[in-house]
């Protein structure tokens, strides 16, 4: 084996190590971006749901819950890797001035994307939001 062949072999081995590493690094980077972005979407939807819950009249628990659920489902949609979970706790309020706290969940389906090569599991995320009712709101 002469020096030129030895050099080519070394370059091939280096490429075989470096390229997969760079791809894995890139996919890991994307996975972090997706995680952050999904959290923003979940926080926004949960926050809006809490705001909707306190726009129902005091004491009308079913209407408050429906407002929150409608807002949640209309804001957080399934797409590619993000699957909305459940919204809990938005059960209304008894008197004006009380708070409503909502908790929302979602699942990041990394395995359904190329990111599954570096994150081979689903990731559950959650968010909570609180809104205070006003005596001037809601007929």
């Amino acid at each position: 084996v002469n020096l030129q062949e030895q050099g080519q072999g070394q370059a091939l081995v280096e490429t075989a190590i470096v390229v997969p590493s760079m791809i894995a690094l890139m996919l890991g980077f994307l996975a972090v971006l997706v995680r952050v972005e999904a959290q923003i979407e979940l926080e926004s939807a949960t926050s809006l749901a809490a705001a909707a819950a306190v726009s129902a009249p005091a004491g009308d628990f079913s209407l408050s819950s429906r407002y929150a659920q409608d807002t949640w489902k209309g804001t957080l949609h399934y797409y590619g890797y993000l699957e909305p979970g459940t919204l809990q706790g938005c059960a209304g309020y008894g008197q004006a001035g009380e708070q409503v706290t909502c908790s929302g969940t979602a699942t990041l389906r990394y395995r359904e994307t190329p990111m599954g090569l570096v994150v081979p599991f689903d990731l559950a995320i959650s968010a909570s939001a609180t809104a205070r009712s006003s005596e001037y709101r809601s007929r």
């Binding site: 490429t15 926004s44 726009s55």
Partner: protein, 135 residues
């Protein structure tokens, strides 16, 4: 070859980072717009502020869309792929069910050529029940 792969991944990472910032801003903006829309219109406390909602989305999202033209639509938004590259539509309306719907759709400016297969599309929306007030 390694240099080519490196550059491809670098472009991809830059583009994906930019898109994440833009999408995050869009989600925040439509949520802010929905809150404004759910509030009272000027002079009529029990009417949703639809015009104010779209204007709020534009105000919040414009600084984060880096050269993208933001169109404030009066009716329904176009499908994302029908919006020309470098533009996004913002629209707000009252749904048949009485909810305020705010949407942002389009194709923001992307520094990476579409030939790389990274023609990102923004399609985010929010819905909320309008607030009403005691008589």
């Amino acid at each position: 070859m390694v240099i080519g792969v490196f550059l491809l991944l670098l472009f991809g990472a830059v583009s994906a980072s930019l898109y994440t910032v833009e999408r995050g801003a869009a989600v925040t903006a439509v949520a802010a717009g929905a809150r404004v829309g759910a509030g009272a219109a000027p002079g009529n406390p029990n009417t949703p502020n639809i015009e104010g909602a779209a204007a709020e989305v534009v105000r919040v999202v414009r600084p984060s869309l880096f050269g993208t033209r933001v169109n404030q639509q009066t009716g329904a938004c176009r499908a994302p792929r029908q919006v020309p590259p470098g533009e996004v539509d913002v629209c707000a309306r009252l749904s048949p069910g009485g909810m305020v719907e705010v949407e942002l759709r389009g194709r923001p400016v992307n520094p990476v050529p579409a030939a790389f297969g990274l023609d990102w599309v923004l399609d985010v929306g929010a819905q909320i029940q309008p607030v009403t007030f005691k008589p």
